[in-house]
């Protein structure tokens, strides 16, 4: 179980680092947001799964999985909010949208 957990942990770290490096190569904020999304939607669950496998069914696992769930949900919301602000500042979107 430990080998699988460590492999998942390494995969999660690799996803976060690769997505960050890919985001750095692009200048437009939309491209950066696009390439950063896998870090939260794939990297965080992989790391949470790895730590959960290592700890077994326990309160610590529940807390780890809840934290990773928060990262997945809030990462998507933050990316959407950032993209919306960028579009408003560039005049691509109405200032009062979607209110």
């Amino acid at each position: 179980m430990t080998t699988l957990a460590v492999a998942l942990f390494a995969a999660g770290i690799a996803v976060v680092l690769v997505s960050g490096t890919a985001a750095l190569r692009f200048r437009r904020v939309y491209d950066r947001l696009h390439f950063l999304t896998p870090g939260t939607t794939l990297g965080a669950p992989l790391i949470g799964l790895a730590l959960g496998l290592e700890n077994g069914w326990s309160l610590a696992t529940a807390l780890i999985l809840f934290t990773c769930f928060l990262l997945v949900v809030t990462g998507a919301v933050m990316a959407a909010a950032t993209g919306r602000v960028a579009a408003q500042r560039e005049g691509l979107l109405a200032r009062e949208s979607p209110e």
């Binding site: 942990f9 680092l17 985001a23 904020v29 990297g43 928060l70 960028a86 500042r89 200032r95």
Partner: protein
């Protein structure tokens, strides 16, 4: 050194300079993207560190960090929005 601590160091050493670089260049919205990456890297690093040292009580820190970085990002989007 156990694999959890090694992974945490790799994540922190590789991800944090990336986010600092992004957070220090470009327009304010570009910088905010770097700040969001820094929040994710920090939260995941603290999860790994808690596992590395075997202290489950430390898990409250990444939980609070995830919530606070989300709230902070929303505040920044509010402040960076153009005013009419």
């Amino acid at each position: 050194m156990n694999p959890w601590l090694l992974g945490t160091i790799v994540l922190l050493a590789g991800g944090f300079p990336l986010s600092l670089w992004m957070a220090s260049r470009g327009s304010p919205v570009d910088r905010m993207v770097g700040l969001e990456l820094a929040g994710v890297v920090t939260t995941l690093s603290m999860l790994g560190f808690s596992q590395a040292v075997g202290q489950t009580s430390y898990l409250i820190v990444p939980l609070v960090a995830a919530l606070l970085s989300f709230a902070g990002a929303l505040v920044f989007t509010r402040l960076l929005a153009p005013r009419g």
